[in-house]
């Protein structure tokens, strides 16, 4: 029992200390991160890399990013505030001014991973992006698709995207505390982590990130009715986090570029 207490205390202290430590760095950064978006760095680190993105940016070619998502990719009636649009803005800010960044969005509304993956070959022929951010899992969780089938579908989808010559980032489900008793997210989160590990591709852990914000009190995601404001703020932070994540995974940070 003592060990458990100790462990939870250590983890708790780590959780408390990490945002404080980062606050110092943030002040010096060119684009200051709003306090509400603060995240411990481990949520934004990945060992996997994005070599194609790195090459394109180093060669000064335009960076084409395709976000394949579902209902939670956008905010109804305010597309400009959704996370893909925010990510584009932040990337433009952070990358060298000469760099062109185009983000296009493909919404696969109410489609499971398997249904979405079926469209990838054609989609990739049409768009030819350097980087695909594939956000999936929610529809599968709602419909309680067999997690193994889900894993198979994600694996196939990732393979199709990679075969078409793109770097891939996987993005998992939203943290949605109000529907937690109705939608079982863990099997889908686990399986996405497995696929990311097996293919050595970065996984943007949207679930853990949003839960962190909720737990730390930055956003109250439990509350039943908010206007579009909350959604806009959350998407802004997600866009920032995602942009940072891509820059780090492709080793495009200011310090890294000097090497």
């Amino acid at each position: 029992m003592k060990a458990k207490v100790l462990l939870s205390l250590i983890l708790l202290c780590g959780g408390l200390a990490a945002p404080a430590a980062r606050a110092g760095d943030a002040a010096s950064a060119a684009v200051a991160t709003p306090a509400a978006c603060e995240l411990p760095s481990y949520l934004l680190t990945t060992e996997s890399q994005l070599p194609k993105v790195a090459d394109v940016v180093k060669a000064g070619k335009p960076l084409e990013i395709l976000v394949i998502g579902s209902g939670s990719t956008r905010i109804p009636f305010s597309e400009d505030s959704s996370y893909p649009a925010r990510m584009q803005a932040i990337l433009k800010d952070k990358l060298p001014p000469s760099e062109t960044v185009n983000v296009s969005v493909e919404i696969q509304s109410k489609k499971t991973a398997e249904e979405a993956a079926g469209t990838f070959v054609k989609l990739m022929e049409a768009k030819r992006p350097t980087l695909v951010i594939w956000q999936t899992g929610t529809v599968d969780a709602i419909r309680a698709i067999d997690p193994e089938d889900f894993r198979g579908a994600v694996t196939e989808g990732v393979a199709a995207l990679q075969n078409a010559g793109a770097d891939v980032v996987l993005m998992n489900l939203q943290y949605s505390p109000r529907t937690e008793t109705m939608i079982s997210a863990p099997p889908y989160l686990d399986n996405m982590r497995v696929v990311a590990q097996q293919h050595d591709i970065p996984l943007f852990d949207r679930f853990a990130i949003m839960r962190q914000w909720n737990d730390q009190g930055q956003f109250d995601l439990f509350s039943p009715s908010h206007g579009p404001e909350l959604a806009k703020q959350v998407h802004d932070c997600l866009g920032r986090a995602l942009a940072q994540f891509v820059i780090d995974a492709a080793h495009l940070g200011p310090a890294q570029q000097q090497n």
Binding site: P147, Q174, T181, F222
Partner: protein
Amino acid sequence: MTIADQVTGSTIAGTAEAKPRAAAPAITLPAIGERELRLDLFRGLALWLIFIDHLPPSLLTWFTIRNYGFSDATEIFIFISGYTAAFVYGRAMLESGFVIATARILRRCWQIYVAHVFLFTIFLAEISYVATSFENPLYTEEMGIMDFLKQPDVTIVQALLLRFRPVNMDVLPLYIVLMLALPLILWSMKWRPDVTLGLSVVLYAVTWEYDLYLSAYPNGFWAFNPLAWQLLFVFGAWCALGGARRMSRILASRVTMWIAIAYIVAAFYVTLTWYVPQLSHFMPKRLEQWMYPIDKTDLDVLRFTHFLALAALTVRFLPRDWPGLKSPWLRPLILCGQHSLEIFCLGVFLAFAGHFILAEVSGGAGLHALISLCGILIMWGMAWVISWYKRVADKSGAKTKNAVGNADMAGGG
């Protein structure tokens, strides 16, 4: 008083009047005496942990065992259920025969089924409320879960058929199916316990090899596959019917102890890498690929062995006559474990209610912890009331010799 009463009744020190009249040669029931308090203790613990795991994560979640290894409270619950069910109904089968015992088991199944339907009704009320009151543009997609409310005719019938089971309501259907199989298991155990256990292992292996499952509604499968989870249940039954005693030499050996400790430490390290990803540098990639995913649906071998290791250490370091079992501090846990069906249902209900309060009142971590604590206190209070009622009812029932029904309520569950 029947023998089942002494196993399941709430008095700690049941006076051992009756001796087993006829012991079949194949199985040996433990001598009747004191109630096995360790079972109650750990079942109570499992119930508390299941309750906490069903609430949104909070500080208390760090105390649940699923954060420290592969297996979690479900394994404990199913194993102990198998153990006590075999103990109670195995005795009934020896004494009153197959038909009577089967009838009693079926009655028990019916009780669990009714409890499940009751919980489903509460779930419907909750989800309907959320559906009408929740308007957050952030979560328009997640609201797709409400679609099933559009066809209540199909959904409710599927729920009654145990094919539609909302999140957190998977344990009771699993339990019902396992209990339905219990007459067969016991009958086979009476004949050859080891063969029965062997058959159970074969079924488990076949389930894995050929990917057998029970389908669910609207699609998918049972979140706890009974064809795989039966292994724990049958293993529990096998232990209750003399297996535990025959294994005692293995359990007492130091080699077993060290293997168990090594395995638990290794599992702890693996789980640590989930929370501290930096540590996964030290995990061999090949091991990861072999190990993941650790499947809960089909009771992954890693989970099963983790439970075995935990159980082996528990049996070793927590002797049957450990005085702490009678201490007032563990009393709440033991009480809860003695009325597991009622307390389990109450726990699921309290988890729903806790969600509801957290959703309505944004109180943060403090309120969260308070709700968890209150839930546990309510579970304890309820267990105490049930015990008290049972004591009173048994006293008046003893005059009319009508206490069998009460034993059933608590027995095997």
